[in-house]
Symmetry: C2
Subunit: 302 residues, 2 copies
């Protein structure tokens, strides 16, 4: 196994989690969610998405959520955007970081973005030019598409290569429907370094088939810079049938700390946040396990 | 990542799963459970345990379960035993394989075995002498004890070394309470080869803190011969507070096949078995994810 080191965990629950929950939090609760993550040591929170409110009603209060989360040192308030209009809204709202989406399959691109893959690449060029903060690109369906099936690894790497030169800060590989397995993760994370030198590498795993945590370990061993996670393991995608939760922030942190990988996060605070969120979402158990099983007083590195 | 190869998956659900369920299957259902696993390609099923019926009432029908599962080529009917009396009962019942338990912590040993660690080692010597089929040793709490906390890795390897020369066929490392993380798995599986040369290596992971599948991958990469799993991810331990399910047979198989590791198992049949078991246990969703998410028609190796 590769040597332990430090990995950034990006809390994406306020965006990728809440967009798929049947219960909608209030704007104030969404802001509190982000605040709680920052207080637990998270350095970057995807607080909302600036998408059309008819497409994702749960994100209709994007401007108000950002306004409710005070800026500050070590508090990167990131937002998802799908097009130039989203960048303009996010810029006006004053976010600190942007994440856009490039889908690795045409069918899903049309459903999620209402654009072709090529049109999205062109739009990303315009988005970078319009943005006043760093912009990253998430390659969705990097491990498979719910409509087209297998996505060739080379297609993913070719797309990464096409956007790498546009001035983006980061490329994220997203297993949108939770079909990936660790060997493919290793190859793609390795491959990214070749086609996108100097661009930060990030990954986004759903635990739909119980592969999410093994994939996260593979990504860490391959040298990933950042991993997405959602408090309690909430999440899914409104446009991906049967997609389920993200890896849980607290479970991922337990796993990484146990391996001696530093995250800077306070596990006890993360577990409290999961309990808080579970209450706000109606009380049914969330997919994350640590808030039920508890931390364990072993020889875990902090 | 290490090269893919073949790993044996041992179905332990009829023993380690059912012993902790509030609903008890009938003897005929238990036998059908084992038969279904064999029909899906599993070569070895832990069909029951020969323990005191007052200690584990769900296993009181051990003899009848074994009698209900016909012997045959490629159908290894294994059973758990904790002492010489168990070996005698299992021998009379005609099982094909035995698995006994050596606990790596004194407190848990007293609660689970009603014996000290040293007394268990001595008993294992007597059990090997009395057995007419291969006997393996599971080292329980190899990654941590719910009562004593951290268990030093060297203690686990020392215990393995003590029993390795007794004529046993296999040593299994069990994460009884689901606290292990992949680096420790790698070190212990590696270490076993040194202290128990020629003895098969097996591992047993619970997914209590969502580390089970990542641990399984680490064990495979370290060269493990066999991995335990339970249909639907059922399970727990009656003597380990808050222990939850085993890794699910179908989810583990999906993960390994996706990595090109052969198991000989039929994933579609495993998913059907999980649905069958869920119905028999009352219909509430089992922890395994694949039976909900479905197999995925990607480029997965068989």
């Amino acid at each position: 196994m590769a040597s332990p080191r430090r990995v950034e965990i990006v809390e994406v629950g306020p965006r990728d989690g809440l967009q798929n929950e049947s219960r909608t939090l209030t704007t104030a609760q969404k802001a509190e969610y982000a605040d709680r993550a920052f207080a637990a040591g998270v350095g970057r929170v995807e607080v909302t998405s600036f998408v059309h409110p008819q497409a994702v009603p749960a994100m209709a209060d994007a401007e108000d959520v950002v306004a409710g989360v005070p800026p500050g040192a070590g508090r990167i308030r990131s937002a998802l955007v799908l097009n130039l209009r989203g960048v303009e809204r996010a810029r006006a709202a004053g976010v600190d970081d942007l994440n856009c989406v490039l889908v690795a399959s045409e069918t899903f691109s049309q459903r999620n973005q209402r654009m072709s893959v090529d049109a999205t690449v062109a739009e990303i060029g315009r988005m970078v030019a319009a943005a006043d903060v760093p912009l990253g690109v998430t390659i969705a369906c990097a491990f498979g598409c719910p409509f087209e099936g297998a996505v060739p690894e080379q297609r993913v790497l070719d797309l990464a290569g096409r956007v790498a030169g546009l001035g983006i800060r980061e490329i994220s590989l997203a297993d949108t429907i939770g079909v990936g397995t660790p060997d493919r993760v290793s190859r793609l994370v390795d491959g990214l370094a070749g086609v996108a030198p100097g661009v930060r590498r990030r990954a986004h795993f759903h635990n739909t088939r119980n592969t999410g945590y093994a994939n996260a370990v593979a990504a860490v061993e391959a040298g990933i810079d950042a991993l997405d996670a959602a408090t309690g393991g909430i999440g899914g995608c409104p446009f991906a049938p049967r997609a389920t939760g993200n890896v849980a922030t607290e479970d991922l942190t337990y796993l990484l700390h146990g391996m001696g990988v530093q995250t800077g996060l306070d596990l006890a605070a993360l577990i409290e946040n999961a309990a808080w969120l579970q209450d706000r979402l109606g009380g049914a158990p969330l997919p994350g396990q640590l808030s039920r099983a508890g931390d364990w007083p072993g020889d875990l590195a902090g």
